[in-house]
Symmetry: C2
Subunit: 325 residues, 2 copies
């Protein structure tokens, strides 16, 4: 490239970066050759020299889950806006896969990480990174981790909103279909709910997947007549599973039983009946986490501890109603 323009690589570099003045004639000549040849500086070489890649990693368990897809969009938007690329690390809840990606991170292919795959086995793996590498936890916090940026929705507040809502409607006995008990997001939803509901709550533990909502609901139904008048599912996916089980059992929502979810994924408003749920700002979580992270990454600093809790919103739709008399 330099040869083609009859100048040194240095000059080409400076023409392109504007890092030092270049004679206008020379610059023009260089630019014309650059565009004729379609030359673009090799980002690897540049990154090696600069000690940074302008790319961040996004670790999530499942990109086809609309919640994470929204979050990913927020991350990508923020990153793009600040001049960073995003490398997609889909773990499928698989620890081998997560390991591989953590390796990629430690090989300094990325300048920072937005970590949204908070399943517990991740902890030890993360430990090695945190404090030495810029990480922002999104959506899920990881217990016992050192200094980190944390951005989550207000899970506890959301649970509280649902609890109040059902109590106000007149429900006194509720069934909770929770997510994994070792996830803070899951337990926080539950504790918020129980605190506000004040009535009798029976818990069944699932895993945030649709199938577990279905199965748990089936099990609850199998014991005979359902004792509770309301069901609070740990997330919308589980609620949708529970809805199917309820329908199969000939129970109608909300006449026979009220049902509420969490997340407000797109499907929640599409099912019949549309689901009462807690809107979680997935996009904002991703966006905020990324903006926070990059603020430090750009200055070559390891981020400090800080927590951002984003507000949630109760969406009352048609799946909840007063209990049958």
């Amino acid at each position: 490239m330099a040869a083609a323009a009859g100048v040194s690589p240095t000059t080409v570099s400076h023409v392109l970066s504007g890092n030092r003045p270049v004679n206008e004639r020379t610059a023009t000549r260089v630019r014309s050759v650059v565009s004729r040849l379609g030359y673009v500086p090799a980002s690897l070489a540049r990154g090696l020299q600069a000690g940074s890649t302008s790319v961040i990693g996004l670790l999530i368990p499942d990109i086809s889950n609309t919640f994470f897809a929204e979050l990913a969009k927020g991350v990508e938007d923020a990153a793009h806006h600040l001049g960073y690329g995003v490398i997609l690390c889909n773990t499928e809840f698989d620890s081998d896969r997560e390991d591989r990606y953590l390796g990629l991170i430690r090989s300094r292919f990325v300048d920072g990480v937005v970590y949204a795959a908070g399943s517990p086995p991740s902890r030890q793996r993360l430990d090695a990174l945190v404090g030495q590498f810029p990480i922002a936890l999104a959506d899920e916090e990881v217990e016992g981790l050192g200094a980190t940026l944390i951005t989550t929705a207000d899970h506890e507040g959301g649970g509280r909103l649902v609890g109040e809502h059902l109590r106000t409607l007149g429900h006194r006995r509720a069934l909770m279909l929770t997510g994994p008990s070792d996830l803070r997001s899951s337990s926080a939803r539950g504790s918020g709910f129980k605190e506000a509901f004040e009535g009798e709550v029976v818990e069944r533990v699932g895993d945030f997947k649709e199938e577990s909502g279905y199965r748990l609901m089936k099990e609850a139904l199998a014991t005979g007549r359902l004792e509770q008048t309301a069901v609070f599912a740990g997330n919308d996916l589980m609620a949708i599973g529970a809805l199917a089980a309820l329908r199969e059992a000939g129970l109608s929502v909300p006449q026979d039983v009220s049902l509420a979810g969490f997340d407000d994924i797109r499907a929640a408003s599409l099912v019949f009946p549309p689901l009462t749920t807690v809107h979680q700002p997935a996009y904002d979580v991703g966006h905020t986490a990324t903006t926070q992270l990059l603020q430090y990454v750009a200055r070559h600093q390891v981020p400090p501890s800080a927590r951002h809790t984003l507000p949630v919103q109760l969406k009352v739709r048609e799946s909840t109603a007063p209990p049958a008399p």
Copy 2:
């Protein structure tokens, strides 16, 4: 690192790569230092030396669209399986953004690209790349592009399936709410449909977004009584929009009008009534495109022209029925 183990960098490299025999004692010592220090070779330096990054780019318009999210998952799975990472390039249908990402590609940050953002303005931008850079087109082909790998679902066949289905039910007049006319996928669905339907078809052109389905349906309804007994939307999103418009107009599906979509996104089976649609193997499209692409990338070859058309499947649900007598 090398110093800490008392050997040369060369030896460290060989211990880690296994590229040449190393004395077992030396190797053990090196490995212990490696793990104590948590050393991982810098991928940038490695990539610079090797002339490849083991990362591919995935260009899509919108990761929060479930179709693309599924496709992305297929891409990521295939890539991961073959030892590649995926960098997420979400264009938001924005050409500036696409340009930035194409720049990233031309800077050789990636070894290849899966391109699934086939909006027409992309063509000239792609031209500069194709033939010099490994690209696989997924889901959407771009007209007039040179040698490329193309993987799409059988859009035309899918349209045909819907056409036959509606004709068999007894419909003779249909309204088509199409996607952008300059997308092959969209026009192919339409031509397949018209060919098989054999009846009278009125077309209205939208843009594959939910809102356009709603608007187009509204417009059709505004002209007075709907002349057609069946509506074929270019994709499920548009069908869901149309469904809302129909509902608002007091028309019920499928009693008053039959409605079919395309894609079989998750929401399609969740809406009420569940949508008759064409299942498009989004995951497989992504997976196939990536597998094909990497086959050449791994050998440092530019891929030849080849086309893979993946079969689609008609999912008959409750939104279609014989026309009212």
